[in-house]
Symmetry: C2
Subunit: 198 residues, 2 copies
């Protein structure tokens, strides 16, 4: 990583913290600069404006997830197992960087007017890929035929809600407990449903 990329990374991390605690709009460039230990002007040597910072934050996460998805899609394991791995990885990452999780669930819609492509890709891209997996699973008979658009949307919505819920938990151990078993709980929920099997 070049020196330049390094500094960009430092600013990104600082911005994540500030946005996570104050929200995008209250996260002033002053606060970000202070958190990164640089002057305001320095930020503008690495990003063209405040929005680009938010976009970059999302882009980094999107790419992480897409890479993992791609690696997974070639493997010869049941689709539901792929799904479980995908969610597990996601919750793991949130656990390691809770602030990133905060930003992702909170700022998905942030600057409405000029929609940022990094955020767009995240909102649409991840559920779309889940839908692809579900379609595949329907085709090979692993799951029953159903409206995969609704199912994929619902599944990812659950994930975000659980992340959001976990992160409002002030007790650190409880937070970790929720995140740790979240993937398995959700997969079980979506596989078996709620009804008693009789």
């Amino acid at each position: 990583m070049t020196k330049r990329e390094n500094k960009r990374e430092e600013i990104r991390k600082a911005a994540v913290e500030v946005i996570a605690t104050h929200g995008y709009y209250a996260a002033t460039t002053d606060k970000m600069a202070q958190a990164a230990g640089v002057a305001v002007g320095t930020i503008y040597n690495y990003f063209s404006n405040k929005e680009e910072i938010l976009e970059y934050i999302f882009r980094v996460e999107v790419e992480k997830r897409f890479r993992y998805y791609d690696a997974l899609s070639n493997q010869k394991i049941p689709v539901l197992e792929k799904l479980r791995l995908l969610l597990t990885r996601h919750f793991d990452e949130i656990q390691q960087e809770p602030a990133v999780g905060q930003v992702m669930v909170r700022e998905r819609y942030a600057p409405l007017d000029r929609q940022l492509s990094g955020i767009q890709e995240f909102i649409q891209g991840v559920p779309t890929r889940i839908q692809k997996l579900l379609d595949e699973a329907v085709k090979n008979g692993e799951i029953r035929p159903c409206d995969t658009l609704i199912a994929a949307t619902a599944l990812w919505g659950s994930v975000e809600a659980v992340v959001s819920r976990a992160l409002t938990e002030s007790d650190d151990d409880k937070q970790k407990a929720i995140l740790a078993k979240a993937a398995d709980s959700l997969i079980e929920l979506y596989c078996r449903g709620l009804k008693k099997t009789d």
Copy 2:
């Protein structure tokens, strides 16, 4: 409804439209005033500040849902049926006032620093009530024992995601189609799960 309440209501409706299209932060008081056909100053005769408008918007919706929940909880029907009715009603209301739906899914977290109680009640209150229903259903054997906190959080997360997805649909008929069958699709998804019943 008194004349005063009437005007407050008009301003609320106008604000909903403006916030739905621009997002809370870009929704200036000027735009709201214009949309309501009044002067900026008038708004401040009915609301003490901009945040209170957003809070009021949420409060109106929360109370609608709580009233329906209360009416439902006394009835002698299966819990899962209550849940279905609750969701059906919710999606119906969104269909009739899509802008309100936009605001609810987008602005849940809006002004982070000083959390607005109307919004808080919505974020926490609705899932909490769903969890109560699930607990009841577990107790009377209607559904299998499970982590009802996760299940309730997930269920409501799915609802919000589907609403959000439907509202990004520009084709009006498609939007209605999604919303119309959303409640049943979700209930079925959560009851039967995805797996093939063999």
